[in-house]
């Protein structure tokens, strides 16, 4: 659990939790436990995704994947334990505020569940067996496999900042959706154009597996334009939000230009 969680990575999702929580100044509730919970879920999903029966990857965040460093059973259980720990930490940390704890668990379980994160992964596996996956299928995969966890990071931050269900949280969700799709397209572009040392994970996998990605469907330039469009919508949604959006604005813009 520690090995994979402490390997680093961009920590984009926990940063989004903190940034959303601080939109309206000092947050009502300390968002750090929520940020850690989100990163636990993200890390578990990477550990399981890297297993031999899934993507069978050797390298992640610049280190051997968990099953390479230890063994498959340990990696499987570490993933299970990180997933479970996310819900433990939320209910432990926010024990004095059951409304918040319960709302955070609910959002996170839905985002990480069979209709979003896991649904996207399942569809991703099935698309690999498809002769001609469609753009719709690809959109479904990215919306759920990638965007769901980015949406929920912002929403959980908003909840720590005492946002109530309504237009403000809806905007954060929309922002996360657009950022998430842009993020995944950039990931696909980097897989096609970057190198393993820079990314800290194996590149060129998509082309090797003849996987349907935005790059395969629209080419590098076309994919790039899609990423720019989704980023522009994200920034537009963000700029209409109340509060100090400067940090998030810069973060969203940076994600389009990232090299890793």
């Amino acid at each position: 659990m520690r090995y994979s969680l402490q390997a680093g990575g961009k920590r984009l999702r926990p940063v989004l939790v903190l940034a959303a929580a601080e939109l309206n100044g000092r947050p009502a509730f300390d968002p750090r436990a929520a940020a850690v919970a989100v990163e636990c879920i993200h890390t578990y999903s990477l550990i399981h995704d890297d297993l031999p029966c899934m993507d069978n990857d050797d390298l992640r965040r610049g280190r051997p994947t968990a099953h390479k460093q230890f063994d498959e059973a340990t990696a499987l259980l570490a993933g299970d334990a990180l997933l479970t720990f996310a819900f433990q930490i939320l209910t432990d940390a926010y024990i004095g505020n059951a409304e918040l704890a319960s709302a955070l668990v609910r959002e996170l379980a839905h985002a990480a569940g069979s209709e979003r994160l896991i649904g996207g992964q399942m569809e991703d596996l099935q698309a690999e067996k498809c002769a001609h996956p469609t753009a719709d299928q690809l959109e479904f995969i990215h919306l759920n496999k990638t965007a769901a966890m980015i949406e929920v990071s912002l929403v959980m931050g908003g909840l720590c900042g005492r946002m109530r269900p309504g237009p403000e949280l809806d905007s954060l969700r929309r922002l996360g959706r657009e950022l998430g799709i842009a993020f995944q397209i950039v990931d696909d572009i980097l897989d096609a154009t970057s190198d393993t040392a820079t990314l800290g994970k194996t590149v060129g996998k998509d082309a090797k597996a003849d996987k349907t990605t935005f790059v395969k469907l629209y080419g590098i330039d076309g994919a790039r334009r899609y990423a720019e469009q989704h980023t522009a919508i994200a920034l537009d949604v963000l700029d209409k939000l109340a509060g100090d959006t400067a940090f998030l604005h810069q973060l969203v813009a940076t994600m389009l230009e990232r090299r890793k």
Copy 2:
């Protein structure tokens, strides 16, 4: 998810949730969602435990295991999704009572987490590599791998019956602990003495793997006496509880005599 969840089994854990909830008459909160959540966690743990990198089992609840019926990736994701769904169903079903939802999530996450259920499974894996595992190690494994989920079933039922932290919940936890250990010893005895058709899962695995069990340490008769002792303590704890304990009394006694 449905394939494994609907395969049946004894459904002991959800029955314990319902029985504990009804100790003091009609429960304050409908315990059925809590019962389903517990069974989701139990079923996920069986799916992952049966995977090739773990126990590599072909048969469970009288059917092919999930990875045999589908494939390893599907079984992995179905397990992940059932684990996540447990927390989703608790926060969806008890959305009107955040205190209860949060307490149930907290209990369940702790019981299923790295210090209990998963800790027990990890220790179980490591004990297999040990030349001479001790009785203490075996006790640790059973207490966490098996008893934790039986304890939490009773506690979650108690919470639905509006029990507060204190002697009553402590007694339910103690009852679950003793019942859980007795249950695991009977499991070990059945693995050594029953047949695959009756149990619906492969028998003789422990002896084949030269696994340390109560049967290996104390023989069938010695193990049987241990199971009887733990059952006697469980019944003693139960009989001191307020409320109508008749059903639970019979259930605990029956578990000692079960043939599957």
